[in-house]
């Protein structure tokens, strides 16, 4: 406004034209200079502002990286229980490639029973595992020998751990940060050849490229080529939106120049390699070549070869358009175009190019590290971590979480589940029946595998952790253990009465337990009450011991609960989640030593510095002898009791112990059982708590046995502890007998509680073999019943 008014004021004076002209032009000049100054100041301000943004982003923490969750590293040593097939499955998941001679990291060659491989090396908590070549010879289902490539024996080695997930908030960028020196030489060359030939010459913007782009675009009549340098692309990704306006373009150019002023070409290139968007995996955005390499090839970036590098670089132009999983032909074409371009520019020779073009895309079927691959187990890990770390540390700091997860066992668990549902198909309401399973190693307390749902990829309600359901007969071992802790009063051959009774509570309510078959079984041996899961004798025994005492045993076993001390608790009216049941049975499986269940071993920072450890801890809660006897009754549940049908699938030489559980009206089907090194707890039931057609034996046990058949646990170690003696007793009376007498069997007793040895083979008076021996028909019937019971 003021300029306008000056102009108007000038007009009426009209002294001389020349003078006027000179005056005017100097005035214009002054105006121009003023304007220029203002513009300069403004630009300067903008530049300072942009520079601040650039510097802040570049010198600070450039990216937030979600924590990475790793499986256990596979240990290799002579004697290790591992089949060749399982080994190859693991190597495949780790992205190892078969080669004629495995002489590079990530290569394997298989020759009969021997696998030669070159491991990649890895930074573990207690130190680095070197990358090295080795040969593994298999024999049967175990490693017969382990040696260096030159044949020298190797004591122990481990593979790098499989990445099984990350801790992402919703809508999260994910990346694996890489340094320029970890990148295959070909990658920057290819990238520059395709995206920015002048990279090392320009200062952020390349007039030459822009001119070429304009030429190409105008002659072809469509936007085919962008003139953006890598720096501009990086700036765009880092700071700007995707809109196509001149202002944005100008800002981009300014910032690109600023970036180039402050940082070296190498820094810019490294940032680009980590930033570039290369795909979308559900809600997770795949950024950077490091992660893209894992996502598409399951291989570390450093191992990529020409055809793989070309594919990834080709994808930069349009990650979803050239998505090799969705549009393989398009991607292949693009890849070969990139390879041709490399020949054109002399990066590779024609021969190399031809070989590379012959290769298939080589991508894995699906992103093996997707958030949803093992949602059940990763959920358990997250919950444990959240007790000790802040949320932002978990989602931003790139922590490395090392877990006990065993992908081979997980695979077997999933397969067993699928098989079980196939077997149960056609049963009433089976489609509504969900399931959950927790697999652990009782000797270490580590959780090895976990199913949270009948569809293993489902990331919702995690039944293994959150389905808190009545445990039914799974409580019974706690009752018998409570009894067997008092050897003066109870032994496995102690007589108990399986007979109806009723208990009146103070409020006048009457509790009258019943057996599953609604029958009474009269006098039975104590162990039979557990093995056959008789409700009457068990409840009576529990009343004898006292409900509070039994509930205390449950706590001591490791299952915290707030159950009221009602008699109905003795038959499992109290509810627990599968993982809590696992903790409880872990103590029984581990000789009375309680080990808190762990899923995490240790945590490292993004740089590989040790941060935290979840160490093994143990506490003796029960006498080893009492546990041994309880295990014996549970072992017999598998050979002669309610768990018998497991041996339809398991070899008879495999010693396992376990317990079935069924809650009222068939709402919950449970099984918990173990060998020496593997414990699995299975629950099946409906989310709405409705009735199923499954008992513990017909549902959960089936899944358990299908799993154990594949997992092949070591037989339960039955070496008696020092306070347990084996005694010969008459199988019908439980009285002391002598070896060699008819009907004599060996039973374990706490030392001092064994019956007096029988002096001869005289049978007790009341013993009438004809009356007592069940008829063969009966045995078949009871075998059938075991499936229903």
């Amino acid at each position: 406004m003021s300029r306008m008014s000056k102009k108007r004021n000038a007009k009426p004076t009209k002294k001389s034209a020349k003078q006027h002209h000179a005056k005017a032009s100097s005035r214009w000049w002054g105006l121009f200079i003023k304007l220029f100054m203002i513009a300069l100041v403004l630009l300067g301000g903008v530049l300072i502002y942009l520079d601040a943004i650039v510097q802040e982003k570049f010198s600070g923490k450039r990216w937030t990286v979600p924590a990475k969750v790793y499986a256990r590293p596979l240990e290799l040593f002579a004697g290790q229980k591992l089949s060749k097939d399982d080994f190859l499955v693991e190597l495949n998941a780790l992205g190892y490639r078969t080669e004629r001679a495995a002489n590079r990291p990530g290569g394997i060659s298989v020759n009969g029973n021997t696998v030669v491989l070159h491991t990649r090396g890895f930074q573990f908590y207690e130190g680095p595992e070197p990358a090295r070549a080795m040969q593994v010879r298999f024999s049967g289902n175990s490693i017969a020998s382990l040696a260096h490539a030159n044949g020298q024996p190797l004591a122990v080695a481990r593979l790098e751990p499989l990445l099984v997930g990350g801790l992402y908030p919703a809508h999260q960028e994910d990346r694996i940060l890489i340094r320029l020196d970890q990148v295959p030489e070909l990658l920057p060359k290819t990238l520059l050849a395709v995206e920015d030939r002048e990279f090392y010459k320009h200062h952020g913007v390349s007039p030459k490229s822009i001119a070429r782009a304009i030429w190409v675009n105008t002659t072809s009549g469509s936007v085919r080529q962008g003139g953006s340098t890598l720096t501009q692309q990086l700036v765009k990704n880092f700071f700007l939106t995707n809109e196509r306006t001149l202002t944005r373009k100008a800002t981009e150019a300014l910032m690109a120049i600023l970036v180039e002023l402050h940082y070296s070409k190498e820094e810019i290139l490294e940032a680009y390699l980590n930033e570039v968007f290369l795909g979308q995996d559900g809600q997770r955005a795949i950024h950077g070549f490091g992660l893209a390499s894992q996502y598409f090839f399951s291989q570390p970036l450093a191992e990529l070869q020409l055809h793989q590098v070309a594919l990834l670089v080709g994808m930069v132009k349009g990650p979803s358009y050239y998505n090799p999983r969705r549009h393989p032909e398009r991607a292949l074409q693009r890849r070969n175009l990139v390879i041709d371009l490399l020949v054109e520019q002399g990066v590779v020779d024609a021969e190399q190019a031809e070989t590379a073009k012959q290769r298939s895309l080589g991508i894995t079927k699906q992103g093996t590290l997707a958030n949803t691959t093992y949602p059940g187990f990763v959920d358990l890990v997250k919950r444990q971590l959240r007790e000790d770390y802040r949320e932002e540390d978990l989602t931003e700091e790139g922590l490395r979480i090392f877990t006990s997860f065993d992908p081979i066992l997980q695979r077997k668990a999933e397969a067993a589940q699928t098989k079980t549902y196939k077997e149960l198909a056609g049963r009433r309401g089976i489609n509504e029946v969900e399931s959950a399973m927790v697999v652990s190693n009782p000797e270490t307390g580590e959780v090895l595998a976990l199913l949270g749902s009948r569809s293993p990829r489902y990331a919702g309600f995690n039944r293994a952790l959150d389905a808190v359901r009545p445990i039914g007969s799974l409580i019974k071992p706690a009752i018998y253990l409570t009894a067997l802790e008092q050897p003066q009063q109870y032994s496995l051959t102690h007589y108990i009465q399986d007979a109806s009774f009723a208990v009146k509570s103070r409020s006048g309510q009457v509790w009258r337990p019943q057996n599953y078959d609604r029958k009474e079984h009269g006098t039975v041996f104590l162990y039979q009450g557990l093995a056959q899961s008789y409700n009457l004798s068990t409840a009576k025994l529990g009343m004898e011991l006292g409900v509070p005492r039994v509930l205390q045993t449950v706590r001591k076993l490791g299952a915290e609960h707030d159950w009221p001390a009602y008699p109905s608790m003795l038959l499992g009216a109290g509810s627990l989640s599968p993982i809590t049941v696992t903790g409880m049975y872990q103590t029984i499986a581990n000789g009375g030593f309680n080990t808190p269940l762990r899923a995490i071993r240790d945590v490292l920072t993004a740089d590989g510095e040790p941060l935290g450890r979840y160490q093994y801890s143990v506490e003796q809660r029960f006498d080893g002898g009492a546990i041994y006897l309880t295990q014996e009754a549970m072992r017999r549940a598998m050979t002669e009791g309610t768990g018998r049908s497991a041996y339809n699938r398991l070899p008879s030489s495999m010693v396992v112990a376990g317990k079935t559980g069924t809650s009222n009206d068939l709402r919950d089907s449970w099984f918990a059982g173990f060998g020496q090194d593997l414990l699995a707890v299975v629950w099946m039931g409906r989310d709405d708590n409705g009735q199923t057609s499954l008992t513990g034996a017909s549902g959960a046990l089936r899944l358990w046995a299908n799993f154990m058949q594949q997992a092949q646990p070591s037989s339960l170690n039955r070496t008696p502890p020092s306070n347990v003696v084996m005694a010969w007793v008459n199988a019908y009376s439980g009285e002391g007998s002598a070896q060699g007498c008819p009907g004599a069997v060996q039973m374990p007793y706490i030392r001092g509680s064994e019956p007096l040895p029988g002096e001869s083979c005289d049978e007790p008076e009341s013993f009438d073999p004809n009356k007592q021996l069940p008829a063969p028909v009966e045995s078949v019937k009871s075998w059938i019943r075991s499936w229903l019971n």
Binding site: G79, R386, Y732
Partner: protein
């Protein structure tokens, strides 16, 4: 952003709050009675005497009349071993020991283990992988990196879960880390698997004595010392 963060934190709190099943790290009950030692029961007469008496619980139990008749002495309906019993030969339960060549404490393992608590002379008689890891752990322990040493030892324990020397070393490291209670438990765990290896048993009792002394349990420590001497 702040809002989102709050939502996340609230969610996390809620989730952990719901996760009753995963609070395994809080040990509910700590029962620390005397050492669990064998052979408390000598009186088998007493046991015989109480065979027919299940009436003790009469006060709480309303017995039904028709059941009364069953309450007299009766042998169990089914024999031990259920339907399979016919001759002693096949009635004998067969116990198969796990034959893991590494973790087995049998003949292939050292019979003359750790001498006292000072040296680990018997290490060289251990099988390959465990020996290698114990050696690594020893170096780490020597360099003062107790966390790494413990980590290596736990790795050894996963490979040989019943090798008492591993428990011995782990207990030693825990003691050095200042966790005397865990050291004692780990040594107890080692004792569980060291039958027939008196020197190692003595070493483990020595460790228990130390651990108990550190916890202020001096009578317990003396008792452990006594046992250590017995085994030597």
């Amino acid at each position: 952003m702040k809002k989102q963060a709050t939502v996340l934190v609230v969610l996390a709190v809620l989730l952990t709050g719901c996760a009753t099943g995963t609070q395994q790290r809080s040990i509910p009950i700590v029962e620390r009675g005397g050492p669990l030692t064998p052979g408390v029961m000598r009186d088998s007469q007493a046991r015989q005497a109480q065979f027919p008496q299940s009436e003790r619980i009469e006060a709480e139990i309303v017995t039904q009349n028709e059941v009364e008749t069953v309450r007299t002495y009766a042998v169990p309906h089914a024999p031990i071993g259920g339907i399979t019993v016919s001759s002693p030969e096949n009635a004998v339960p067969t116990y198969e020991d796990a034959t893991n060549p590494i973790s087995n404490t049998g003949a292939d393992m050292s019979r003359t283990p750790i001498g006292g608590q000072t040296s680990l002379a018997a290490d060289e008689q251990l099988a390959g992988p465990v020996l290698a890891l114990l050696t690594t752990a020893k170096q780490q322990q020597g360099g003062g990196d107790l966390n790494s040493a413990a980590s290596s030892l736990e790795r050894a324990q996963r490979i040989a879960p019943r090798e008492p020397q591993v428990f011995y070393r782990l207990a030693e490291v825990r003691l050095e880390q200042g966790d005397a209670a865990q050291a004692e438990q780990l040594a107890q765990q080692g004792l569980r698997y060291s039958d027939g290896r008196p020197t190692l048993q003595a070493g483990l009792w020595e460790l228990i004595a130390k651990a108990r002394a550190q916890q202020g349990n001096h009578t317990g420590a003396q008792e452990a010392q006594r046992r250590a001497r017995v085994h030597l």
